[in-house]
Amino acid sequence: MQTIGRPVPRKEGRDKVTGQARYVDDLIFPEMLYGATVRSAVARGRIKKISFEGNIPWDEFTIVTAKDIPGENCVALILLDQPYLADEFINHPEEPILLLAHPDKHLLEEARRNVQLEIEPLPAIFTLEDSLNRKEIIWGEDNLFKSYKVEKGNVDEVWQSADFIIEGEYETGAQEQLYIENNGVIAIASPEDGVTVWGSMQCPYYVHKALLKLFGLPEDKIRVVQVETGGGFGGKEEYPSMIAGHAALLSWKSGRPVKIVYDRAEDMASTTKRHPSWTKHRTAVSRDGKLLGMEIDFVIDGGAYATLSAVVLSRGTIHAAGPYSCPNVRIKSRAVATNAPPHGEERFAESNKTSRQKKGMGFASFMHGAGFTGSGEKYLESVVGAEATADGRVRILAASTEIGQGTNTIFAQIAAEALRLDYDSIEVAKPDTGAVPNSGPTVASRTCMIVGKLVESAVLGLKQTLSGSGLLKENYTQEDFRQACRSYIEQHGALKSYSKYKAPPGINWDDEKYEGDAYGAYAWAVYVAEVTIDTVTYEARVDDFVAVQEVGKVIHPILAAGQIEGGVAQAIGYTLFENVVWKDGRMINNQMTNYIIPTAADIPPIRVFFEENPYAYGPAGAKGIGELPMDGAAPAILNAIENATGASINHIPLMPESLIEALGGESG
């Protein structure tokens, strides 16, 4: 029976609808303590003194500082620059300094308010400009986390011969992901049994890697389990490693399970957001509409620590020139440090400036590479396993997380289709580093195309084993498969198969020159937005939105359309509503009453169309989809606004106050 391309029920849908699904905050362990984080209010400084004040029974509390860390005090990700707990120096507001645990949540909160921090402030920088000008050196020798340069042809020569030169500077703001479930974990840790963490997260093996360093334990002493996760959008990529480490440190010291769940305000203020960015484009065009050359300078604000900025920057660099053919290109990109909480990945968006040369209202054409950039997938070496049981059920073993986007469902569809079995006979194991191999992080639009392909080949491995041992004939039924599994397991024991990532043929990348095939495949799209601008009240409304994309074969039409609709809605928020307000490096509108996200009434009908063009090396022909819709909506909307008003707007979010400025001369 065919399952690909059909809207089968979600694997975890029934549990979610009936309230059976258990999230971190639903879990209560015996003897459990609650943990809280004491954070810095200043952006940069030196800790002089910590004192414990007030009428608080401090002897009942477990208190952890940097001195209590058994291994290394750094969150291991790409660079080892970010501490779990500030030891002496503070580099951004909300930086964790000290941890508290107590069985009584309310007393814990009182206690947190009564920890007095004496911090000697140091000069801090908050803007890209100050960082680039090295007003203060706050990171490394030059405030630069990472830079790239990509060259093709000879850009310097095109300007003279060009018929037109188009120049512009573009700014995008930070964006809070606002997943429905805030971050949270529970940890049990002791020198004897090692560390186990249950949490809301996108990337269990990132957490695993970070805890290895933090505790200096061998791999098998650290176990990370993802529990039901209420959304991520890139916001639960790196920060869960921080929270998991904090809960584990408290548990290690207290000998009891420790739960840390952030409330909305803490989550918004202290966890990662989309990087703010500044871009300068200079484009040479010929009279007949050909692109002759592009020079692009692109800077992102990474906050105080490197986290994943290098990864975001490399993706931005490669996508900067858009999907156009252009003989001469120079792209320079930099990720710089400021004294703000680190910014992390969020479904990536890159305004597609070249679309400004196209006629037509609110139109953007763009692409998004699926999978890790460059050699990323090669280094990741992701592995997926499959296991068959004696009753003919197949279980997929992968660390890729279901965060609401449908991982479990599409994996089961891919497996069912490859084996020609019922969708219901496929199970997907819970991501648990103690039980599943590392299929890599759930990011970068890689889960369907890259990991899905591994799922396909792992389950085909099972079939091969069965046919190889003569237990399964060419044309088999569900029942034949069940009997084959039973016989195999009786004769040989467990039936498992693993599959490891190999780059598709012809896909090569040069890390040195930053050249080659950055991605195995791209998803392509054209988005059209129709807007109404009220020139009296400055209200901008998106009235209609058409999203056409080619993402290879569509595995699950409802989930795929949902990804696009959700992504476009999020991008409308990014373009017109969501304004992170900073003061001295702190987000000061960290409440849902004043960080405005769109409601259903602000979202137009989003008409989604798929053009199916199967990709030879994707599972059943599929490519990636997750981040795609974020890329095109902002440029399409801004172009529509330009078309409607003549005002060319180069920064988002576009609030009514910016429109007032842009349309200043017009009368009511």
Binding site: V115, R264, E266, I588, N594, D602, G668
Partner: protein
């Protein structure tokens, strides 16, 4: 030196609950206990209790009192204090005689909230200043003398008119802006008897006592709101500008009412929301309008007059321009409406 985060859902404060059988009993209960509060729809009070912003020791439930009626009286319309925002908005007499009130109510909150929220509660709803609502911050309105973090802080939603150095909060109600344009009269009863308060005297400017929102005494019960009939009330409308289409308070809003005869404005009412500590009736704009021709030039002059004294904060200078444009827009709209057959 350090900050705690946002709203803390602390252990519940205990309080007693009493359902009042009649008005006298309700007033007596609250008069006898300085920290008792009337409970109507609860959509504001209960939230503030959960966030620990208010801690009444007693709630006196007034929902069973016979104060729900909306009825014609010789001078106009009488709306009971317990009529819900939905009932008022959808009432025929209101829609026909006082359309600005219906429009203002429908621009606020959500259908679920409007079904619970009452006229009395709406009049007394508290500011949405984020610092007021977050007990981790000082706030002169919540704790007199503790300071106002909004002035140096993020103040996009704060006042541009009538603020003081102690408080720059705005009154968030849409309904009250309409009432200000309709010359509403608030009828109240207290231990010392009944009295009537004109809507413009009901709410206060912050001055040096921002902790006092209104001139109502804590033990006075609002029983009704009276709307005098007038020619301008029929030709009235409301425009609300906000950051999203639903579920957001006004950045600025305008209630406008005009009596136009042969192209000449005989009487006018203009009130602004989202700009001051009280619904801001602009007699300056009304002066410009009264006696003038009903045209775009007049409307612009009125808008300029209304905002002449505006003093913006760091993050809300745009509101001045926005308010002017909103005034012009709603005057254009209202002047062009068909009212009882005549335009």
């Amino acid at each position: 030196m350090f900050k705690t985060f946002g709203i803390r859902w602390k252990e519940m404060n205990s309080f007693t609950y009493k359902r009042a059988a009649n008005e006298a009993e309700a007033i007596r209960e609250v008069a006898d206990n300085r920290s008792a509060k009337f409970l109507a729809g609860g959509t504001n009070l209960i939230d503030l209790m959960k966030m620990n912003v208010q801690q009444p020791s007693e709630l006196v439930d007034i929902n069973r009192l016979a104060l729900k009626k909306i009825e014609s009286i010789p001078t106009g319309l009488r709306i009971g204090a317990l009529a819900t925002n939905s009932e008022v908005a959808n009432n025929k007499l209101v829609q026909e005689g006082f359309p600005v009130l219906s429009e203002a109510l429908l621009a606020g909150a959500s259908p679920q909230l409007r079904n619970m929220a009452t006229v009395g509660g709406n009049l007394l709803q508290r500011t949405r200043c984020y610092y007021f609502m977050d007990t981790a911050f000082p706030c002169n309105k919540r704790v007199p003398g503790s300071g106002c973090p909004a002035i140096p802080g993020f103040n996009r939603i704060h006042a541009i008119l009538g603020a003081s150095e102690h408080c720059i909060a705005t009154h968030p109600s849409d309904m009250c802006v309409a009432l200000a344009a309709l010359d509403a009269v608030i009828r109240v009863e207290g231990p010392k008897g009944a009295r009537s308060i004109a809507i413009t005297d009901f709410h206060r400017l912050p001055g040096d006592t921002p902790e006092i929102d209104t001139n109502l005494q804590p033990d006075e019960l609002i029983v009704s709101v009276d709307l005098p009939s007038s020619a301008f009330a029929k030709r009235s409308g409301y425009l609300k500008i906000r950051d999203r289409a639903q579920y957001a308070f006004a950045l600025v809003s305008v209630a406008a009412a005009l009596d136009i005869k042969n192209g000449r404005i005989e009487a006018a009412r203009i009130a602004l929301g989202g700009v001051a500590h009280k619904p801001w009736r602009s007699t300056e704009a009304e002066k410009v309008l009264t006696g003038a021709q009903s045209n775009a030039q007049t409307f612009k002059a009125a808008a300029e007059a209304a905002l002449r004294g505006a003093v913006p904060q760091n993050h809300n200078a745009f509101k001045v321009e926005l308010a002017k444009r909103a005034i012009v827009r709603i005057l254009n709209d209202v002047s062009g409406r068909r009212v009882g057959g005549a335009a």
